[in-house]
Symmetry: none
Subunit: 147 residues, 2 copies
Amino acid sequence: MARFKGQAEYSVDAKGRTAIPAKMRSALSPDAQNTFTLTKGFEPCIYAYPQDQWKIKEEEYGSLNTNSRDARHLVRMILMWAEEVSLDGQGRISLPKSLSEYASIGDKVLIIGAMDRIELWDPEQFANYLQDHKEDQETLVERVMGS
Amino acid sequence: MARFKGQAEYSVDAKGRTAIPAKMRSALSPDAQNTFTLTKGFEPCIYAYPQDQWKIKEEEYGSLNTNSRDARHLVRMILMWAEEVSLDGQGRISLPKSLSEYASIGDKVLIIGAMDRIELWDPEQFANYLQDHKEDQETLVERVMGS
DNA sequence: GAGAATGTGGGGAAAAGTGGGGAGATCGCC
DNA sequence: GGCGATCTCCCCACTTTTCCCCACATTCTC
């Protein structure tokens, strides 16, 4: 499985394209075929899953019972935001309008590696997010991982 | 199996035709022969199943017990709205009047990929639907998929 | 410091989306 | 049964968007 880490601030050009850091590109498994599926994050950002990783998620959604109202709603809410994008010859992807609007992304993106996915943030939104979650890291570690 | 995802707002022309997004068209299996079966959604929208997928649904309905009053009624309700349509040379389908009336579709449609089917919504109806179901997504995921 | 790799910008061909005309089939009416 | 109106398809034409390729500046590496 790809393990993304690190952060970088890149620009988004007039055509809505942004480069993926070379380090993250080289962390991609060949199975991903240089393709990501972008989707709406729980936070105000875009999640980018490499194709191989996304396939696993998709299987899960596909196995839900479509006769259940909740399941239909969930699938709708998640898949309507999902878009498949591939790297161009320059290692860039283009961001769908619906998603960059959701994440308030303008002409700059903050790209963050988060294990099995990459997150794309508007730098300002990310600063806000940090502001709202400035709990001491040590306390957090204890709360989440302290057995 | 075809795996539809993403959303797009398209127009419906004076003849009641609407294009199917190229991305969804290319997700069609050859077995579907560029043909969909449209039917009434459980929500106020039109479901479009690719032909191969619809065949499976039909099997399901066919295997229901015809001695049950409920089952007979269910089959009747579902099949009476089903209508087969094919893509024209431009990748469009034409929407039967009965269905577009049911879904209140005017000159714009919101097309949503939902796994094995495509959903056609009137944009306004969809906004209402969201309004009525704005449960937090994280909670929903937990409820439906939480182990 | 030279060469390679990385990030950024833009032009142009190809594809996608939209609208409309016209031939053929279907239906109703005279 | 004949005729006209309506509807359905198929085809053509135009506009917009997307994608692919080329080019350049900057950074990194050796």
